[in-house]
Amino acid sequence: MSYGSVAADQITSSVQGYSLGAGNSSLKKNLLINGDMRIDQRNAGASVTPSTGTYTLDRWNAYSSAASKFTVQQNAGSVTPPVGFTNYLGCTSSSAYSVGTSDLFVIYQRIEGFNIADLGWGTANAKTVTLSFQVYSSLTGTFGGSLQNGNGNRSYPFTYSIPVANTWTVINLTIAGDTTGTWFTNNSSGLQVTLSIGAGSTYQGTAGAWAANATYSVSGATSVVGTNGATFYITGVQLEVGSSATGFEYRQYQQELALCQRYYEYGTASFPSRSGDNLYYGSMSYKVTKRATPTFAGVSQTVNSNTVDSFACYQAGSASSNSLFTWTSSAEL
C-alpha cells in the first residue's frame, strides 16, 4: 500500500506571513541560541557596560573598542516588545562618540562549529541561509552587520534599513553560503553573526559579497554610539537554512536555558568541613556538559579539579558548619 508523498520544504501556516519547516528540518531550525533574549544568567536584567568582549544576555557578546560608549540591558528602556516576544536586548548610547578608523562597537553571537556543520560552508555545496530579526531604534537609516567565520578571514557584510524610529521593524536577509574558506565544524567558533552599532573604516566591507577579511559593517552605516542616548533594540533573531524567513522557532524555557548552559552556568554549593584537614571540600556535576573545560570561579574557593562535566574545590576553615558559596563556570566561544 502506498501513502504517496509530499514534496515541500516550506509549509504556509495559519498565521498570515509565517511558514514552517524551511530547509531540511524544523528542529534546530534556529542556529542561534537565545534569539528571543529570554535568558540572562549573568546579569538578571541589570545593565552592563561592555569592554572588548563582554557577555551580556546569554550567548550575546558585546565589543566596545572605546570605554563606556554604550550599555546593554535586557529590556532596556522598557518599551513593549514585538508581538510574540517578552524580551529584547537593548543597547543605549552613553555619549555622542565620533567613531575612529579602528573603532568597533558590535553585538554578536558565535555559533559552535558542531551546529553549523550541516551548512557545508567552505564547499561547493554551501547552503543558503536567512537571517531574520526585529529591530527598534531611536535612529533611522541604513544599518550594518556581517557573518564571519571562526578564523576571522571570511566575512559577508550586509545592510538593512530602519525606516521609522521607535517602531519594531522586521528584517529578513538571505545570504548565499560561502563556498570557500575554512569553516570550523568542531567545538570552536564556526560562524559569527554580528550587528554593528558603530564601525570604523578598518572594519567596513562591501555589502552583499564574501571577502577574505574580517569586516563587521559597511561604509555609511548609521552609528548608534554617535548619538547620546540613542537606542538600538533587537529580538527574535534567527539564522536558518533556506532562502526565506520563517516564523521564529520558540523553544521551551528549559530547552533554551540548557542550550545556554553549555557555555555558561552558575549556581550555589554547600560543602561540609572535612575532618582531618579542616577543609570545606566537595564536588558537583554541571547541569550541562560544557563545550570545553570551563573557567571556574567560586567565592573564596580553590579548585582541585575541573572538567567539562564537574568540578571539585575546597576552602580553608575549621568550623563545623558548611561553606556556602556561589560559583560560575564559563566555556564561552
Binding site: N187, S188, R291, A292, T293, P294, T295, F296, A297, T302, V303, N304, S305, N306, A312, Y314, S330, A331, E332, L333
Partner: protein, 50 residues
Amino acid sequence: MMYKLFNSLSGQEFVIRLSDNAFIPFDSANTDYQEYLKWVEAGNTPEAVS
C-alpha cells in the same frame, strides 16, 4: 590583566586570572586560556606557582 600559575592538589594545572580569581584550565579550546596565551606571546610573564 595579571595571571598566576597554579597546580591543584589533584595535579591539574590552571592559571589564575587575578582580577577575578578565576581558574583557567590548560585547555586549548578554552577562550580564556587562548587570551592568556596571547598575553604571554605579547611578552608578559605570569606569577610563579606559590
